[in-house]
Symmetry: D2
Subunit: 366 residues, 4 copies
């Protein structure tokens, strides 16, 4: 069994290779009657698009999305939506030397072992270029969420890049869109920029940590015990290329806490329960509490670097690998809009799942 | 949509509440012809069973499993297997006072909000008692893995409990089964025991971190891009009660690494590729490399504590909650066999998925 | 991959063998807050129960259902429901001689070929005894439908048994429950009874055709193009033991019709569209029209007969097979409540699917 | 939940509307290393293509397939395959008058009721044009089957068209590809042609029955009890536009048979078991026997006819509907390659499912 599909009610299947003619997403389960245009989707694509700053790959892809089905006269019809993005800047000759050699830390060797055959150009199917299709699907999810839960807002931002850490006291979500790092601290941008310049000049790359905050998510989403909301968010983030860890709320730090400290105490506010803290990251027992949902993940450094690393090739010869081509020195940066897209898909999926089972009816308090 | 099923090829659906008459797992997709007995499963159950040391809940459940279907004359038949565990020590009166009050940090409030109605006795469906059914299903997975991949071995162990940390230099997997903490360091057991005694005497509880190591896993398992092996392991661990984070290999520490440091370089060994390090935790591009698979997760402290915490009840009144009943001061301990079970289910699931798609054919090196 | 699960939103997984200790259904996706009792389910079980007339197997099974989870204080909680039926009258010695011989027309040989091992007692997993679990699951579906669509009514009845045909002019659904054939024509019961007596005395068995009519089904159910309502009904009926054909509306007779004759013309009635005929059986383009849904299926004669038939055994020896044991001369009779149960599950599943996608919003006419 | 996906291991999701820019299939689960070219797929497309004889719609679509992903250097890579067919001859102005009126017997009204909004041009998503995508997906399945089970052969043919019936005594599968009716009787072609000319001149249309025979299918395919091979074949055929019934082997005629007559007796042949008849249509207990698999289905007459029929429009006004545009007088004809495609997908899906669970191991006889 192969598995290029994500989601249960709101589902998308991605297809396409880094240097094939096109890539895209087939989206199913979309409610009918939701306004959706190419321009709306494009705004999300442009946030992830390569080549927009010196800190990302210099591959120039316009990433223009075409809607081939499922939308009629500007409105979703409830049938499957095909979103296609044509590849235009495939400089495949750069990749000739990796046809048979395996980059350390890259999927080259595991794809070779598993499938025997692979499209090695630009990493083929294992390339992070696949995430363009996720962003397109996520834009559809955002359009539907906008119609169903207008107050819901999803914001991703970097909290760490190698040795650079976000100062939590300075967190300002309004700054995120004004710098190439999706950094919620305008004053720190220059330092991060200098740091990454240094990494790139060293022919190196660096890891990152990204956080996604979902504001305005209704309580009651999550389907225990194997489609808990946090379970699905963890799977969504871990499925993004190069991600090695996912945290909800306190995350790994929970291991050090005591029950007294970890308890998010509750009082009654004017509109219902109010939590005095959010160690839980907005999810208890796999179900949303109505607080902000906080997900964080770590992404490893790009494995394609120009510093030579020891490896082997498909003939079993020991070689040194130097990866030419155009690569992001920190793939974490462009993962931010991807993570927002995945969060949107998970939240919408659960909203529809809940609509199916409970019809949105809720237990009363008070 | 509700979702009490885990897995794709090897699937199990759990059912049952903490204080209902019984709980269990319906297991589907099991290959035929595999020896399986009640006694074999029972050995796994006994590792998770409550009441075996002073450090776990004093509820006394024999956790005797009955095989009601799918096994004939000691061998699996390929049809669905029902595993039932009867509850015997439900002291439900302990829970009368939580029928309408919500423990801070617990699923009480979210189940109430989502479903309107809930079996509050002992946490009902949200209780970690559900994990007994996972261990039973995991034992079936272990039996099948034993038949298909005899060299594969799955070992879980604690690496942190509150302020106590495993000294990695002393890691000794052979020590794990000889102490109530599944601690891979015999000499540290007394200190951990004293520490937890202190926590309990303080009417408190504490978090933990657990690691699972899969040795002998074949290369080539994992179905990119939405059923990557690490994606499914992350979902499996995050679905366990109280888990707040999952890491693969370097995990969150990846964010601090550079590409030069993170590269797991490769040389040729007598039997094929050999990796000189394992930052990746045995998975690249979502597919196993053949190295040890290393998964780690954090589990928050038990929310049911006897120290009073501020909360509300279903009538919207502000109250103080003190949870009586019998609770683990560190739920992380008994999560160890649960995590092993989940890992076994994921590995087997992927083994069967791979068998379907590739037929187990592998790309050659050399 | 094995597959003992039916449904998407409302799902049940059945387990158990004919002569094992018990069998049952694990039901998931049930909306919370629906009244459900053992007695309610039992009424459906009793309609399918063996040994209630001379025309069905003389195996005496009380078919008492136990609800082991998912219901609290008489109301569904939204968690998985386990329904267990213990087997009490397994006279397994009757089956010793079929341990290695294959009954012509029976699943004995295909289970042997596929799995290598099988529980041969009473047909094991291939026995129609599995349908008891379907009826239990169907009762849960009926309870939920009763809460969500009170006017919906599902009625199954026999329309053919060998040479006996229902006279459509005499169809009277109110007669169905008053005779052992579920025959909607009270006056024909004696003739059918005499006919089946003759079949049994001839050491023979006979096929049947059953029709299920769903009255009061809302328009708009069905998820094109691969979960059309008729697609799912066809799969549901074909999955019942011994079924060899499924028809919707005109069914096979459609092949002989012209477009002029087949058109179900439409006029406006006081409450909306009214169809002047129902060749379509209440489904167009895979979506319900609001008319009666009419499904019909044929069930082959019981293959276990006492007239000797030529066959082989597992050693490859040519033998004559005479099946002792207690068998229904017409398995079609007891398939009636099973078909009603499957129809209820399909309709509920689609109601929840539709609730998820469209939220039950409908296009307006007029 | 919407559902535009078919299959479990070998899955395809179709997308596209009759008069949109393109349509296609996203195919997942394809084994790697299988030779696959555009030309290979095109041969299957050409059999279904409209406008090839006077008996099918005069819409001229070249139905050229593009492979956009999942194939590299002529070989499948195991990643998702995108097959796109651009629409070129959309004469949408023909359809302006059906934007708000409902053709009797057509999905117009149910799509309107369910979704509120629909692409009415040429029937939009409900058009049989969707089946072009199925044929493309089926061609991929055929390629894989050709690699895995070289002796397997799937042949569809018409057995009835209105008043015309195939004379079974004259059945000759070698004649099927030499006439526009896929008729396995060369001598009857002229009479069928004259008959259909008459239907068309009468401004009418007519139903049909099609049979698909799978030769060389291995024994052991089928996953009881809810993914029986016949269950999945029934769903596959019923999902095709306008299909109203599906039969396996004897089909509806089973209702009239006795157990003595229906038994397919078994003898030992030189290569194993040999069945003396095939009432079962090659499937027992939902698992293939190794005999020919025989599936038959009825397809209703085209609902778009130029004879006026009474209906209503979206404003609730009573109208007469006359459907202009270009329509097949017998949609059954072009359903033949579609049914072959669906059969190929089901057989391959089950081959992979079986490979996952049993590894293809078989019980021995003799």
């Amino acid at each position: 069994m192969s598995y290029n599909t994500f989601g249960r009610e709101f589902r998308f299947t991605t297809w396409g290779e880094s240097h094939g003619p096109a890539l895209g997403a087939t989206v199913d389960g979309v409610p009918p009657g939701v306004p959706l245009t190419k321009d709306y989707i494009q705004r999300f694509m442009d946030r992830r698009r390569p080549g927009t700053s010196k800190h990302t790959t210099q591959r120039r892809e316009p990433d223009q999305v075409r809607i081939l089905s499922g939308v009629f006269e500007g409105v979703t019809t409830g049938t499957s939506i095909q979103l296609m993005i044509e590849n235009t800047d495939q400089r495949s000759k750069d990749y000739g030397d990796i046809a048979t050699s395996f980059r350390p830390g890259h999927a080259d060797i595991t794809y070779h072992l598993k499938y025997g055959v692979r499209d090695y150009r630009g990493g083929g199917r294992s390339s992070a270029r696949e995430t363009a299709a996720r962003v397109a699907a996520g834009a559809v999810a955002q359009a539907v969420l906008g119609a169903l839960v207008p107050d819901l807002k999803i914001t991703g931002y970097m909290v760490q890049m190698g040795a650079m850490h976000l100062d939590r006291a300075r967190l300002d979500l309004s700054a995120v869109d004004d710098n190439p790092f999706f950094l919620p601290d305008a004053d720190a941008v220059q330092a991060w920029s200098d740091y990454l310049d240094g990494i790139r000049k060293d022919q190196n790359s660096v890891g990152a940590a990204i956080e996604v905050c979902v504001q305005g998510c209704p309580a009651g989403l999550g389907a225990p015990v194997y489609a808990k909301l946090d379970t699905d968010l963890a799977a969504a983030m871990m499925s993004i290329n190069a991600v090695k860890a996912v945290e909800i709320g306190e995350g790994m730090a929970s291991a050090a806490l005591t029950g007294v400290d970890n308890a998010d105490e509750i009082r009654m506010g004017p509109d219902g329960p109010e939590f005095l803290s959010n160690h839980a990251g907005g999810i208890l027992g796999g179900i949303s509490t109505g607080q902000d949902i906080v997900v964080r993940f770590a992404i490893k450094p790009t494995s394609s670097i120009t510093t030579p690393r020891r490896s082997i090739n498909a003939r079993g010869e020991e070689i040194d690998v130097i990866t030419k081509g155009r690569h992001d020195p920190c793939v974490g940066i462009r993962a931010v809009p991807v993570a927002e897209a995945m969060a949107a898909c998970v939240i919408l999926d659960h909203l529809l799942m809940d609509r199916a089972q409970t019809g949105g009816v809720r237990g009363q308090i008070g």
